[in-house]
C-alpha cells in the first residue's frame, strides 16, 4: 500500500519483556516521527528522524526506550524491560515536506 504501515498491530507483553515495534514509512519520506498515545489522551511526541539521523529524542520517557532508523527508511522502536505504564498505542508518522502521514499504530498492552 501507499501509506505508513506498522507492525505488529497488537502486542501483549509480560512485564519485564523487551518489545520491538516496526514502522514502514511512505517510500521516499525523509522525516519519521514516533508518538505515544495513552488511553484517553492525545499523542505525545517521542522522537524524530531525518533520514538515518535521530535529531530529537527529548520525548523518550526513559532510557528503556530506544529508536533507530539505520538506513533512513524502516524504523524500530524498542522498549526494554516493559512496565505497565508503557501500555499505550505507539504511532509512527512520516513526511516528505510539511504534512505528516500517520500509520494505524501498534497497541501495546503490558500485563
Amino acid at each position: 500500500g501507499a501509506g505508513v504501515s506498522q507492525s505488529p498491530r497488537y502486542k501483549v507483553a509480560k512485564r519485564g519483556q523487551d518489545v520491538a515495534l516496526r514502522c514502514d514509512p511512505i517510500s521516499g519520506h525523509v522525516s519519521l516521527f514516533w508518538y505515544q498515545q495513552a488511553l484517553g489522551q492525545g499523542p505525545e511526541f517521542l522522537t524524530y528522524f531525518q533520514n538515518e539521523a535521530q535529531l530529537d529524542k527529548s520525548g523518550l520517557p526513559s532510557d528503556r526506550f530506544f529508536a533507530e532508523r539505520p538506513e533512513g527508511s524502516v524504523s524500530t522502536l524498542k522498549i526494554q524491560r516493559t512496565q505497565q505504564e508503557d501500555s499505550a498505542v505507539y504511532l509512527c508518522a512520516s513526511s516528505l515536506g510539511f504534512e505528516q502521514f500517520f500509520g494505524p499504530g501498534t497497541r501495546l498492552t503490558v500485563l
Binding site: G3, V4, V30, S31, F33, G40, Q41, G42, P43, E44, F45, Y48, Q50, L55, D56, L91, A93, S95, G97, F98, E99, Q100, F101, F102, G103, P104, G105
Partner: protein, 116 residues
C-alpha cells in the same frame, strides 16, 4: 513550550445539526495550528491547518476553523454534521522545526458522536 486545551471530551449531536469543537492553546512563540481526525480503527489524518495568512481555514469535507490570536483559540466548526463525521478530533499546536516540518503538541481529543 506549547500546550493545548480541549475542554469537551465528548460532544453528542444530531445529524444535520451544527457543531463546534473548542480548542485553546498557549505558546510564547508564533505557532502553527492543526486539527486532526481519527476515525475508528484508523490512523490520524490531518483535517486542516493554519500556518499564516487568512485566519479562516477550511477542509474539503465542510469543516472550518478560525485562528483567533487575541483569544488564543482555534475552534472547529461544521454547519451540518453527518453520521460519518463521528470520530475523535484532536487539536494540535506546533512551532516550526528544522527541515520544514513540525512537532505537534496535541490536546486530549474530543469525541464527536453524531446521532441519527
Amino acid at each position: 513550550a506549547q500546550s493545548v486545551t480541549q475542554l469537551d471530551s465528548q460532544v453528542p449531536v444530531f445529524e444535520e445539526a451544527p457543531v463546534e469543537l473548542r480548542c485553546n492553546y498557549s505558546s510564547s512563540v508564533s505557532v502553527y495550528l492543526f486539527w486532526y481526525v481519527q476515525y475508528p480503527n484508523q490512523g490520524l489524518q490531518l483535517l486542516l491547518k493554519y500556518l499564516s495568512g487568512s485566519t479562516l481555514v477550511e477542509s474539503i469535507n465542510g469543516f472550518e476553523a478560525e485562528f483567533n490570536k487575541s483569544q488564543t483559540s482555534f475552534h472547529l466548526r461544521k454547519p451540518s454534521v453527518h453520521i460519518s463525521d463521528t470520530a475523535e478530533y484532536f487539536c494540535a499546536v506546533s512551532a516550526p522545526i528544522s527541515g520544514g516540518s513540525y512537532i505537534p503538541t496535541f490536546g486530549r481529543g474530543t469525541s464527536l458522536i453524531v446521532h441519527p
